[in-house]
Symmetry: C2
Subunit: 606 residues, 2 copies
Amino acid sequence: MLSYKAPIADIKFLFEDVFNYYEHYQKHPEFEEATPDLVDAIMEECAKFSENELLPLNQSGDEEGCTFDNGVVTTPKGFKEAYQKFVEGGWPSLPHAVEHGGQGLPASLGMVMSEMMGTANWSWAMYPGLSHGAMNTIHTHGTDEQKELYLTRLIEGSWTGTMCLTEPQCGTDLGQVKTKAEPNGDGTYNLTGTKIFISAGEHDLTENIIHIVLARLPGAPEGTKGISLFIVPKNQTDEQGTIGEFNNVSCGSIEHKMGIKASVTAVLNFDNAKGVLIGPENKGLECMFTFMNTARVGTALQGVCAAELAYQNSLIYAKERLSMRSLSGTKHPEKVADPIIVHPDVRKMLMTQKAISEGGRAMIYYTAKLVDEIENGKSEEERKKADNRLGFITPILKAFLTELGQESANHGLQIFGGHGFIKEWGMEQIVRDTRISTLYEGTTGIQALDLLGRKVLMTRGKSLNAFAKEVLIFCKDKSMISSNPHRRQMNKFIWPLSTTVAKWQQYTIRLGLKAKKDRDVIGSASVDFLMYSGYIVMAYFWAQMAQAAYEKLATDVENRDFYRAKIKTAEFYFERLLPRTKSLAVTMMADPKTLMQLDEELLSFL
Amino acid sequence: MLSYKAPIADIKFLFEDVFNYYEHYQKHPEFEEATPDLVDAIMEECAKFSENELLPLNQSGDEEGCTFDNGVVTTPKGFKEAYQKFVEGGWPSLPHAVEHGGQGLPASLGMVMSEMMGTANWSWAMYPGLSHGAMNTIHTHGTDEQKELYLTRLIEGSWTGTMCLTEPQCGTDLGQVKTKAEPNGDGTYNLTGTKIFISAGEHDLTENIIHIVLARLPGAPEGTKGISLFIVPKNQTDEQGTIGEFNNVSCGSIEHKMGIKASVTAVLNFDNAKGVLIGPENKGLECMFTFMNTARVGTALQGVCAAELAYQNSLIYAKERLSMRSLSGTKHPEKVADPIIVHPDVRKMLMTQKAISEGGRAMIYYTAKLVDEIENGKSEEERKKADNRLGFITPILKAFLTELGQESANHGLQIFGGHGFIKEWGMEQIVRDTRISTLYEGTTGIQALDLLGRKVLMTRGKSLNAFAKEVLIFCKDKSMISSNPHRRQMNKFIWPLSTTVAKWQQYTIRLGLKAKKDRDVIGSASVDFLMYSGYIVMAYFWAQMAQAAYEKLATDVENRDFYRAKIKTAEFYFERLLPRTKSLAVTMMADPKTLMQLDEELLSFL
């Protein structure tokens, strides 16, 4: 049976000691309600809801899955009731606009909610998660009428939303989208086509579902430049939102998947379904991609959730399971054997999980602050700066944290030995559930091309250098006697961090030069470059956490163990995980020839 | 739908061009029947059986699983019929002793059979696989009567066998075994206890199941020195093998697992079940561990099977699926998009799978030759030498190849994008099925302790140095003008291989010195040391394959593409996979303090 306790102490450490969230909230008058008292209360309530309502449905949801019967989808037992409590608790409205019924709290606080609920039950959290994407899209691109009709109901949670992009012939390559939208002459359109892989595409949680759909207008240009965005409800409504006729959006089947089985993945057939255009004609992809970064950060979070859940459960098991004696001498002579936590390799897996979970969490809350700035920055310049930083860091978060989330989930399973392979312990489910995270919202390969191709090389390294500068300023500041009384202790982090960042910049220049001669250099280097970047970025946050911990240890008489543990975990990260950059530096610089020289017909001789 | 073609060309390359198998067979008069013609015919028949009978049951077996009803286990549809064909084809007897009805063919040829059947359907292949372990045990430790009664029927396949080690409280730590064996005074014993995780422990394929069981005699010493081995049939029989009364070995339940769902995993309750002792009293673990190495090589094979199956299927998909255009210029302008195989990162995943599958296969067939030598070596010295080499290389094969098999399976899933997560394609099943391989027959952590602790440090590096010497002799020989006309082309492999081997020896000495001061060094370094060793060992085989390919290219006018592809894959391995040793060299030498300094109570603050 899986257990979960929300890591409130760790989140508060990031909010209070590392990222100065309250200072950040106070700078924005619209966030003045987000006081420490309110945030603490929200964290505690959210933890309770996640631990008590969502966690108990995690394994039963997997076991039962969603069921499909003649177009009707039933979510697993308890999902609907939990959703109702979620709505009654006012959770859907938390980070949304006051003028449409939201609570107007910062996006970063929404991330805390997503983390806790997502760790307790990722499948369940997918339903509100998809809704969130639809809400953001309508909020930014919708007309006042669209907001009044759709957004208010999504915010109150009485309806949910989806994003309908993928079709059978295309996922990444959306230029191939075929779904058609025929104008009816009255401002509405009839949509016809098939969408697949639609999360939350059909379910029994709410009376209506609002689909945001990519489709082509008649005569639209081919490829990505001829795609428009539409709002298509499952059921038609009048202007007051009263449900009317079925809108011919039918669920043809649901997918049988490796994991997140309680999260429905629908095939949706649009058969002259009536919808309205949202945003300008033929600009659908741009509108959709407004929230690509935040959606991807939301998926990056899945890596942290998997790492945390796996860590918590394997830690409990490692303390309880008795097997063999410690090689450095029996630790518990009163027991028939020592608990496996005494074995260094078990400890290595646990520390790796811990470093990934806490390091990943820091990356997420750093980025959540950027999202606050983009939405509520005081000047265009501030918003632009945050947006550039977000654009740079998003593919790193998405790919690196989901890859590491999988590693952590697999360590968790491995710590359980043979029992990890058995369903009842829940560890194999974490591996299955999180396996989707490197695929949806853009695979690891796509994130890597986005990072190295678009974000780094197309800006001639500007975005990377801006981030590197931030890190190097931190390194300089923390190594100076004038600004850091803990500089001697911090040396062990500052030195490897600053040298690795310098190499990162050098390698980037070399890759840029090589890519000018051979475009395949980008794809050949991209994933290793992304992972290399990820380890450096995470090192920066581990160094920041260590610095914050040293500062607290100098002044705070409470929680000293917590701060000491942070520092020791930072030491682990720098000695055991950051060195992975050494191999990546070699392989990312390897000649693309080793990948491409073998003719594709010669890859196999069967 | 999964597809599979047995890689006969690759296996023949190893047999004929790399390992000189026929010369090896000719040296042993008992293998004189294993001529190229017979071996070719066996390979082709085995390929047919695997492709036509076993593959079609792979996905349906997973879907259906084994069912349990009041002690009775039913295997998935078609399993029993396939097993009957397997028996009718004479397959179970292939590598077993002629005097008990076997065909007396070499163990290495049994490995070919295991590879093909295991790739087509690992779950199905588990049933004969477990039988094989029981046969080996009875063959070596059984009395003539035991062989006559049990071994002949296992060899003909009319009964199957199991190995019953694990109990709820212990898997790795068999000193905790509690099952009791009470002597009846007539040479038989009554066994009582519970065994879990018993593969093939109960099924409907045969009328009897022969369990090899670890249990304690009354008054036996505590721990591992008080464990004896017993033969306990599911049903009692008379001396002619006629089935009599039920022997009180009941299946209490079967496990619900992440994968290999068609392979039953039984909880067996022994309730005064009658058995006979096999081998000396209290020497059960030694007897059981006679075949530990070969059983572990059999599990290592699962890594190669997973890698091969994933590779074959993702290669097909990568050639068919159209998405985006090549960054280095459109490759198929006539299509709506290029097939994804044009993208370097997809190619990187495919080449990684290919290098793992073919490199792993070479490691397996090198080792299978050692097993032949152990069983049929001419002198005690030859047998001893082969046994030492096998003891050294086994933990590397088991852990390294199963870890890499998982990597390859995951690349396969990843190449399919979102479709990889959907059951019908079968890619997620490969990931689930192979996840067990790093757990059973000793986890990766246990293999690593066996390698670094027992095999390397306890022999003062002798076993490692003996292997390193073999590699360095190869390097020297292949870089000399007198013995190798291809030495210039081989330089790119010989240089990195010989330098890495030299470092391997140096690091081993340093670890030995460090371990004298701190025993936790062993556990702290072990897994990284094992993976480090694995990459070097695989590099040795890639260099051998490249050498063989150069030699064939100089003389053979056929199959030139095959040999060229081998060389290019070797280049890929050396440039993209071998450099992983760089990071492992750092982390394996890291101070154990980074793992152990954090008190276990401070690992969490929830």
